[in-house]
Symmetry: C6
Subunit: 232 residues, 6 copies
Amino acid sequence: FFREAADQKPTPGLSTGLAWTPSGGEILFIEATANPGKGSLTLTGLLGDSMRESAQAAMSYLKSHAASLAIDPNRFDKADVHIHVPAGAVPKDGPSAGVAIVAALVSLWREMPIRPGLAMTGEVTLTGRVLPVGGVREKVLAARRSGVREVILPIRNEKDLTELPPEVRQDLVIHLVAHLDEVLPRLFESDRATQHDNHAASPERARLERSTRSRGRVTPHPLPTAAPVRSR
Amino acid sequence: FFREAADQKPTPGLSTGLAWTPSGGEILFIEATANPGKGSLTLTGLLGDSMRESAQAAMSYLKSHAASLAIDPNRFDKADVHIHVPAGAVPKDGPSAGVAIVAALVSLWREMPIRPGLAMTGEVTLTGRVLPVGGVREKVLAARRSGVREVILPIRNEKDLTELPPEVRQDLVIHLVAHLDEVLPRLFESDRATQHDNHAASPERARLERSTRSRGRVTPHPLPTAAPVRSR
Amino acid sequence: FFREAADQKPTPGLSTGLAWTPSGGEILFIEATANPGKGSLTLTGLLGDSMRESAQAAMSYLKSHAASLAIDPNRFDKADVHIHVPAGAVPKDGPSAGVAIVAALVSLWREMPIRPGLAMTGEVTLTGRVLPVGGVREKVLAARRSGVREVILPIRNEKDLTELPPEVRQDLVIHLVAHLDEVLPRLFESDRATQHDNHAASPERARLERSTRSRGRVTPHPLPTAAPVRSR
Amino acid sequence: FFREAADQKPTPGLSTGLAWTPSGGEILFIEATANPGKGSLTLTGLLGDSMRESAQAAMSYLKSHAASLAIDPNRFDKADVHIHVPAGAVPKDGPSAGVAIVAALVSLWREMPIRPGLAMTGEVTLTGRVLPVGGVREKVLAARRSGVREVILPIRNEKDLTELPPEVRQDLVIHLVAHLDEVLPRLFESDRATQHDNHAASPERARLERSTRSRGRVTPHPLPTAAPVRSR
Amino acid sequence: FFREAADQKPTPGLSTGLAWTPSGGEILFIEATANPGKGSLTLTGLLGDSMRESAQAAMSYLKSHAASLAIDPNRFDKADVHIHVPAGAVPKDGPSAGVAIVAALVSLWREMPIRPGLAMTGEVTLTGRVLPVGGVREKVLAARRSGVREVILPIRNEKDLTELPPEVRQDLVIHLVAHLDEVLPRLFESDRATQHDNHAASPERARLERSTRSRGRVTPHPLPTAAPVRSR
Amino acid sequence: FFREAADQKPTPGLSTGLAWTPSGGEILFIEATANPGKGSLTLTGLLGDSMRESAQAAMSYLKSHAASLAIDPNRFDKADVHIHVPAGAVPKDGPSAGVAIVAALVSLWREMPIRPGLAMTGEVTLTGRVLPVGGVREKVLAARRSGVREVILPIRNEKDLTELPPEVRQDLVIHLVAHLDEVLPRLFESDRATQHDNHAASPERARLERSTRSRGRVTPHPLPTAAPVRSR
Ligand SMILES: [Ca+2]
Ligand SMILES: [Ca+2]
Ligand SMILES: [Ca+2]
Ligand SMILES: [Ca+2]
Ligand SMILES: [Ca+2]
Ligand SMILES: [Ca+2]
Ligand SMILES: [Ca+2]
Ligand SMILES: [Ca+2]
Ligand SMILES: [Ca+2]
Ligand SMILES: [Ca+2]
Ligand SMILES: [Ca+2]
Ligand SMILES: [Ca+2]
């Protein structure tokens, strides 16, 4: 079968989102480029108001957190950013691409490709909270069908995972997050390497990751940043 | 149960508003960020005309009262402000978030988080008057349901409090205000500490506060600023 | 009863207009602020095209007549003006707030509050003419009901005064004007003091004022500026 | 009766146009002001697209012909022009106010009031041609009713004059023009004085003017500028 | 009868186009002016999207070919261009005025009036190709009726000439063109004089022109510029 | 018959696209010009939102890849680009002209005409991927009918080629591409010459090209850039 996600060449500025359509889930590529300019933001792909606003919020989040994201804040007003979401003839809307848009922008500014096989969905807010989204079941099925191996989901969508067939949960590593602070360390190979080192130093953590993987997901474990944890 | 308000990490630029929907009241977070820029104002969250205008009025109020609010007025035209109101897919409108928007902006510029557990509703005008709003009963019930402990309401909505069950009025401290001058001293811990010192020095006031608390609300008492008082 | 007009704290930039609605007349506050900026004009309060244009015309009138209004014309392009008309959720339209908008702006730039208890209605043109408006009977009744003691009306609305009950005409001082030149001397206490001095020096005038007051209105008497007088 | 045109105080920037409405003709004041600025053009009075374009064309005509109109062309980009057409609540459209708009702007920039009692109608083009308009009969009747004594009309509307009652044609001096070159010498007293001097020096011309006046109109006679004459 | 085209005074920036309306063809004047400015383009005359785009394309063509058109390219960004198409109350649309708009702009920038009695129709592209248009029969009849003596038409409209009565073809000189390179040498007297000199030096050419004139049109003959030739 | 594509004079900035209409396929010219300016992008030809976005994406792609495309990136913000797609009266939409727009822009900036007889269709993304389009059968038939000899198509449209009659496939060279990296080496004569040199040095490659040509298309062979290949 056609594994579209695996086909996409890893490129800085490119992330994989998940979309819901009446005929099922789909993977969605978010493409971001920055060229010398004056700080404009161009959004294409027949994006609706809510999705355009998600991109504006993502940009503001990056600017506000440039320091902690290791991005030089002086670059923002010397660049024109363009975010495009193919396919060009398909209208798209809604805030659920927020996490993927932030990821594409962080990848762009840090000039590091996102790890292959990683897809994500989730609305983001200006403070970095990750809000729940709809169509999680269809989105996760589409991710797996397209060759995705890891999915980042809002923790408040945890309940939707019970609707997934067991074999899907076993094939995928699912990260449940409540805040962008938990998303960013998972995006790049280098950060991941660092995480594994940390894990190696913490036998207890390593065990936890094994167990969650066997359950088909990773529960949110403590991260260096002070991410609030939501109990249900 | 899920206490959303308590979950929100205290952050400068974040306030808690109250919204009315056909299916009941809801709490609403107002998120404001400021990044280096040229004085633009970006508003997202599918905000309608009236709510966008509330945000413009709030910005103008802050600029006009920068001195008394201890904000450096030279910062306004060097910053781009973004106000976002999640959730991104839910259209919102009306002027009743005015007080919360002003609070978020004051918190942002003073870089002080608003006290946890404090929510507010009320339209504001350019002169700082707080005008009455609709759906107070539903909003207050939603506030309590979400873990809010104090609510700021327009004094001209006092009559709507009689519709509240007694146990709700006992759980919540309700501040009735006629002007933003009465709102601002209640936003931050430090200001509150100062108030308590004042109260300690004024046994009569302390007693008043106790009694009003027992009645489930605080009647508007004289404040340092010359806030006009409305009799009915 | 609730005397809203009396409650409003006198503030530079604040005037009281009169509006007509299907359910009767209402008083309307015009709030104007100026902050350091580049000459922009922000209009909020769900204002329709005609009312927005009235505000633009008022701004242009002020700029053209800055010298005679004792306003430094160099200030205009260094300020962003915001005019707000509460309540934020009520759409408003029509040119009849023109006089009140000019008054709010003159008050703002001269940093002098308008005399308490003074309300006004009337369309204005770029040359300062005051044109007649609709709903005068309802507007005047609303003014009295709200604690207003003086009303400025277009002279071409004089005929509408015959519809007022005698007790209303006795309670209110009504100024009939044909031009903004006749409006401006009535706005501020200091100007009024000057007028009274003039009156003291002119026994004939004093008598005229008494008599007109007893008739419930002041006929337009000669003013320092060369205001054209319309005969009917 | 109410002679509105005679009431209007002569002011630089003010001209009198003629409008057609379903209920008959009306006089229309065009008000223009210029304030220090950057060359913007503000148009108010609920003007439709065609009337807005007429104003843009009038501005461009003035700029292109500044030299021959004795206007300093360097002033245009240092001024913001505002053209307002009362009454503010009445939508207006169509190109027939073109001549009056040009006249108001010439009066504004030359700081000379237009001669009292002079009204005009006619579309203008960028090259200064005066094109015919509709409703001439109603417009001329309205002009006379309002105290107008002279009317400038497009020469291609000459045929419409036959519909006028003889007494109207005897009361009014009507100037038929094909180009703005023929309009401008008739606007100001000083130019007229010059014309009369010329006439005094030319007995033949003086006689012609008498005779045309007795016929209720002035046929277009040779003018200093090279205005093309249209034969029919 | 009224020969409108002959009435129009030759002026730099003025060209004569041809329009099709449901009631027959009409001549159309394109008026262009340039005033000191910053490179803006104002389009008036109730022009539809397609006609506005034609004007934008004409401007871009001029800028790209300034050198070969003997226009100083530095002038473009120091001028505001205004193109007006009377009559102001008649909506107009479509790309067929492209050739006439280019002609008006070339005439404007070269400050040379277009030869009297010359009208034209044809869509233009950014590369200067002249595309066929509709309503050629009606347009040509209207041109002749208005006193036009020469018409420039797209060569791909040649077939439409067979619909013309023989007397019309004998009265008019018709130039069929495939590219703007063939249009520009026909616009001005001086260029034409040069052409005639050339013709005088080339007996064969002179004969060709005679014969084509007798057939009521001029076939496109070789021109100095490398205009592509379309075979059918 | 009329071979339109062959008629078009080769010009830098001009490419040939393929369009689908309800009445069949058509060739479409993309015209791009650049004039001294400030980086604006003008799009004409009654282009719909999706097609306008394609042009924006094409511009961003060029800017991001200026170095590898041998374009001086400093030129972009000193030029105003205009892209026009005749015919001016025909509305056009959709993303399928993306490849042709990129080609026109590369041709423009490199000042090299695209090889005659080459047409192309395909959506492009910001990362340079070429996405499949609709109407391939009709487009290819139209290309051949218009004198096109080579067509660039998205590789994901390969299946649509089976619908073509054998004689069409034998007349045309068809290039199937997955990325813009594979398009650009085919646009210009000089690059092609270089390719042939490369091929001469690689007997195996030469053979492959011969065989594919005999099958009426060129399969995508390895290119210098690392273009991901999609398997189906
Ligand atoms: Ca696209
Ligand atoms: Ca968190
Ligand atoms: Ca959002
Ligand atoms: Ca108060
Ligand atoms: Ca408001
Ligand atoms: Ca108004
Ligand atoms: Ca007056
Ligand atoms: Ca108005
Ligand atoms: Ca003339
Ligand atoms: Ca017009
Ligand atoms: Ca066009
Ligand atoms: Ca590829």
